[in-house]
Amino acid sequence: MNEALTAKVKKIIFVVIAAVVFAVILFPPVVLFLTSIKTELDALSFPPKWVFQPTLENYKHIFQFSPFMKYLLNSLTVASLNTGAVLVLGSLAAYSLARFRFKGADNIAFWILSVRMMPPVAAIIPIYIIMRNLRLLDTPWSLVITYLTFNLPFAVWMMRSFFREIPREIEESALVDGCSDFGAFWNVALPLVAPGLVATGILTFIFSWNEFLFALILTGSKAVTLPVGITGFMKETGINWGYMTAGGVLALIPVVIFTISVQKHLVKGLTMGALK
């Protein structure tokens, strides 16, 4: 009887702690959202106002009076093109590493992983100089290419673990009537890992969408992406919190939708296929 009671108390304590964790995680983004729908006067009041007349003025303003639309389109272009390139190159390489037996396969895989771990600041100086000489600075192409440095290794590892999960026999049956390895890849293996391919693509897209350091250095005005554009609302003269938070909320919407849609594969994605 007593034991059942302590178990129950324990459970209640756990639920309370879980609720606190939940609140701590969600509170800051909620503040972001609330600030974005306040008038400037309400946003600047202290103590903060919890009851106020919501307004969409900030959202209207950033579309009308700032190049927000341009940032949005740039981010979309860069992330889509990069994701396309990463999926084509990455799934081919991953299939090779997962399926064919050759000397050094493991070493190549770990070398590719080490590229992912490299601090981007180590490569940014030469990449900046190279892009400058190729006259690609401030174009989406510079980012589409540069984002391969971290997204390609990610996709290779993620897709490799998906390919490893399909039983080898299925592809071998496809190989019997000819010797088309590419056919086995294209017609048999790839359709089987389609959900994995989608998950990899979505995460790649999010990583491109979120990237800041390369975009800050390689773009100046024409090709500015959302994260860089949003920090532009921070000026020496002060921050307009309304515009900045409205931009932030808009930039987060696709991220949140995509994240929830790949929940199932997220642990695998975050550990590059090491854990399920």
């Binding site: 390489a93 090779s96 590493l97 180590a122 100086i125 590892w157 932030g248 642990v267």
Partner: protein, 308 residues
């Protein structure tokens, strides 16, 4: 038709041996041209003195850049210290709190977990610049939520990111908010994948819950923890966005980690030779740490990227 068949047969024989290479080559070519080549380029640059805004050619200086950094540059030493503090402080707290959250979530019912898991995921994939922005709003001395909470306890407002003493802990707190969920999520997945038998055996043997945790859960979970540790340590060296938005490395140099210091040397002062040398030192440190961690992980027989 005839020709095609012969070409086909030729490729067929080649294929058996070298097909792996045709699949892998595009990726290798891409990575070599956008990673290896630039790194070799910056290694060479690091032995030169070159300022991009003065139209002067590279001038060879040998190891002078490295010597200055290691023996004469007090800012480098400060940045190195801040990097270590930041790394140890954030990662250890993320693991402590993350383990706690994972253990608690593991004990409560599936339904709540599903909901909480979704919440846990948000900070991880959220755009880091926006995380920084949110915390800048929270820390704002005049209208921020944190100072509002302080008024509840009749405490005087704090200039969180504006004072050398509180700036670093403030950035670290934002980092901990952002990445504790990551650790918790991975450890939770690890806990849920553990076999049940060892726990039943411990129960039969009458082990206390602390003993079960210490001698059964922790050892079984350690491979997963190592993978999470590797990823967190590597990412910690890359922290840039949070610092850029919250403090820009200041006040003074109190939040300037090596990563940020290198960026500033390269793209604020345009000393690209010196900055290249800095970036290579950072690369060497990161590589050594990652090799050690990957060795440990592989020696424990975890098939990283395996079919587990």
């Amino acid at each position: 038709m005839h020709l095609w068949k012969r070409v086909g047969l030729f490729f067929c024989s080649l294929r058996r041996r070298y097909i792996w290479f045709f699949f892998l080559a595009p990726t290798l070519v891409a990575l070599i041209s956008i990673v290896v080549f630039p790194l070799v380029f910056s290694l060479s640059l690091s032995f030169h003195d070159w300022n991009i805004i003065r139209a002067k050619a590279w001038s060879w200086t040998g190891i002078a850049n490295y010597r200055t950094i290691l023996f004469e540059d007090p800012y480098f030493r400060s940045a190195f210290k801040v990097t270590l503090l930041y790394l140890v402080g954030t990662v250890s707290l993320q693991f402590g709190l993350g383990l706690l959250v994972a253990l608690i979530l593991h004990r409560i019912t599936e339904k709540i977990i599903g909901f909480l898991r979704t919440a846990l995921i948000l900070p991880i994939t959220m755009t880091p610049v926006i995380v920084g922005m949110i915390w800048r709003l929270m820390y704002n001395p005049d209208l921020g939520m944190l100072n509002y909470f302080l008024t509840w306890f009749r405490l005087s407002p704090v200039n969180w990111t504006g004072m050398p003493l509180t700036a670093l802990p403030s950035v670290m707190m934002a980092d901990i908010w952002e990445w504790t969920p990551f650790v918790a999520l991975i450890l939770l997945a690890g806990l849920q994948a553990l076999p049940q038998e060892p726990f039943e055996a411990a129960l039969v043997d009458g082990a206390s819950s602390w003993q079960t945790f210490r001698y059964v859960t922790l050892p079984l979970l350690s491979p997963v923890m190592l993978v999470a540790l590797l990823i967190r340590v590597m990412d910690s060296f890359k922290t840039f966005d949070l610092i850029f938005v919250l403090t820009q490395g200041g006040p003074g140099m109190s939040t300037e980690i090596l990563n940020y210091y290198t960026y500033r040397y390269g793209f604020k002062f345009f000393h690209l030779g010196y900055a290249s040398a800095l970036s290579w030192l950072l690369l060497v440190v990161v590589t050594i740490i990652s090799i050690v961690l990957v060795r440990i992980i592989r020696s424990k027989g975890i098939s990283v990227g395996g079919a587990r």
